[in-house]
Symmetry: C2
Subunit: 501 residues, 2 copies
Amino acid sequence: MTAQEAYQWLLQHSRESAYLESFARLAAWDQATYTPRKGHPHRAQMQAALAKLLHQRATDPRIGERLAILEGSSWLQPGSVEAVNVREWRRAFERATRIPERLAVELAQATSEGEAIWEEARPKNDWEGFRPILKRIFALTRELADVLGYKEEPYDALLDQYEPGATTAQLEPIFKQVGEASVALLRRIQGSRRRPDTAILRRHFPIPAQEAFGKEVIARLGFDLEAGRLDVVAHPFMQGIGPGDVRLTTRYYPDYFNAGFFSIVHEMGHGLYGQGLLPEHFGTPMGSEISLGVHESQSRTWENLVGRSLGFWRYFWPRVQHHFEALRDVRLEDFYFAINAVEPSLIRVEADEVTYNLHILIRFEVERALLRGELDLEDAPEAWEAKYQQYLGVRPPQIGDGLMQDVHWAAGLIGYFPTYTLGNLYAAQFFARAERELGPLEEQFARGEFSLLLEWTRRNIHHQGSRYWPRELLWQVTGEDLNPTHLLTYLERKFSALYGV
Amino acid sequence: MTAQEAYQWLLQHSRESAYLESFARLAAWDQATYTPRKGHPHRAQMQAALAKLLHQRATDPRIGERLAILEGSSWLQPGSVEAVNVREWRRAFERATRIPERLAVELAQATSEGEAIWEEARPKNDWEGFRPILKRIFALTRELADVLGYKEEPYDALLDQYEPGATTAQLEPIFKQVGEASVALLRRIQGSRRRPDTAILRRHFPIPAQEAFGKEVIARLGFDLEAGRLDVVAHPFMQGIGPGDVRLTTRYYPDYFNAGFFSIVHEMGHGLYGQGLLPEHFGTPMGSEISLGVHESQSRTWENLVGRSLGFWRYFWPRVQHHFEALRDVRLEDFYFAINAVEPSLIRVEADEVTYNLHILIRFEVERALLRGELDLEDAPEAWEAKYQQYLGVRPPQIGDGLMQDVHWAAGLIGYFPTYTLGNLYAAQFFARAERELGPLEEQFARGEFSLLLEWTRRNIHHQGSRYWPRELLWQVTGEDLNPTHLLTYLERKFSALYGV
């Protein structure tokens, strides 16, 4: 078999698997939107059958044989599309084949059970009921880290699944710096006499108007609603089915503006990445998102750097007043201050830009200590509470608002949380670079011009697919390594001005 | 390998394929309901990739090896669930392996092209544009009949795909009898002075009220909306995803009652069959519908024998008047007459109970003659028009309302039309038997009691899955062979009373 034949085989194998994955994603979207109540058990069995088939395809020994032919061949030009795909196919094949079937099955069972138990135990604050399965999930995940392999510590193996090349050693000092600066900024804000009137966001916002305004905004920002949808779910997410079919979801509260609107813009940021992948590379690494952190950078860019900027609201102010009677007596500046209110809270998903990364830092520190065996699971709730007290000055009155608030660990997503803060860091660093190239962006936003920024992200990020791992992508796009100064400078400028501190 | 091991292997293979088919069905439902415009090309590629995989699974030579072990084994008890499954697995395997890949691919391409050309050509009455691809589809279908095999004539091989065991020789005299009786009844009705006031069905019927009333009715009839859905599409259909997930669709016109309502009840009839299959047999022939004709018998039972009966409307009359202001000055008897108006028309899908089977008879005669080579495709439009003139006394002014009105032939569905009339015949024969066992059904309907009939169809038809081929099922349930007298007696009684002829 020639190198070219080997490549063609891998290309077809990869594409066929990707079409099957499109079915799995469509079915997952449907589970969250339109599956009837009694259809869920069958859906779970469908997904299990397809997952089994996809695992068989991912570990097919013929992949390894063909990769070996290519890796020893001069046919593969360094830096070419083909070389990128071969590199990432190897990475995926190694990961898939290193996990013994027994471990994969046990993890799938434990996390499936874990999610179900969490769902029941969280509202009841039932830590004793949740702890045994969580202990098992951490033990299995530790095993997983060992079979995946790492250089310095087990946590690296987990992190690398979501963020190729990221290591604890690299993240730790950066996260620490972000944490300290955030705490310092928060303290100053708390000392300010200025307070936004957030009650204006709790007025009556009819759901049809929220939907109409949301769709108007995302269409203006560049999301193609003929190549996507917007539906309602309990926990918003974005699902990219494939080229021309990228689906956003949100939830609406008739008496709260932020939840619906910023979910839409956040998920649209993910969706723009999905719509920006090159369709000719569909089903290969060159046509796929590189990491969760880079994904999150796209959602945070549009949600925060664009959607919570004054320029953005200058442009949309007449439209928002048109859609919502409740805002007709409100001044733009008061609205802008209200949507940027900083308030230490217990719940990550409700956190503002200043405190958000502290929520992540706490999770990073706790899960890493658990995995290293430096912290017993029995003591984790207390460690969690102490950290909330220390960083945010609040203490969860019940564990459902504490360690048990997120589904991630129950779902086996350990080492996943850091990608949220990485997303914020990348977003600020990309944005700073874009601004250097494109000129002051908020002035463009105030004129309703969002296409320069979108095209810049398309060219520099979306079209690159998985060509570069995140750290290399940062170098390529911004000319420097991951640098928290961009995020911290942005936060400092924005919030010291808002709060006069 | 023991017989039991062979059976277990086949069971798992069949179930896994069925889960994959559930994905295909979900994706097809989504294509008709919620897929964004630009997502359709990707969806077609997804479906092609899955169809290829399912074809590979269906022709896996290990199936044949295991079937051979079982067929020669005393382990398989005649009449057992296992024996039924083995019989039907053999049938499916033979069919799948007899079709050479070249022919399958050419048919798939020609029909995909055919549907697209039909879509464009029909509104333009462009027969010259449509004829070449239709000629090719008929030629390929003739080839298909030859590889599938038949005893008497090629049409049998096609018919047998949709209606196991049915033959042209059996159907021809029955269809002829139904045709003659229908024409005679129609002539008498046309001679009557009584005319229903169908304008009352063309008043204003707000769509939300149509949806609310439709859901109220199907819930009362026994359709479980927690194990299903009702959505809006251009061309209504039922899609059974799997146990607990059976989806109905309809379309609404704000100024026409019948289209939305009777589509809902028709599709619900299909849906009740889907909800009545035994979930423990999911993914095997014992848990699957036996034929299109039997499927159609279920939809026609609820649409016509129940939904167009006076008893049904006696019960729902207060509810329909509650939902629709437009009907508050209408008398029940006038409404009942209007929804049962008989009027020869050009369009099959709008036909009443008396003329419907004439539309089918014409298609059966034309497609069979084409397949036997007794009619040239060039002459088919004229043959079509002559038959409409002869049976229905109407002549299509344009081919879009004539031979080109249905998508079926363009989609390769040749030999499919007879299953519609078979459905009407089975429905009447089952209904007559049910009435003998359960007492006068319309009196039950008038009291809002539909569960006895539903339970009877569950027990006798739905729970049987593919145990009996349709003709044997008729014997088992009604104690006689297919007998058109039941349908003709029903039509004669109902319409002679309505029209006083």
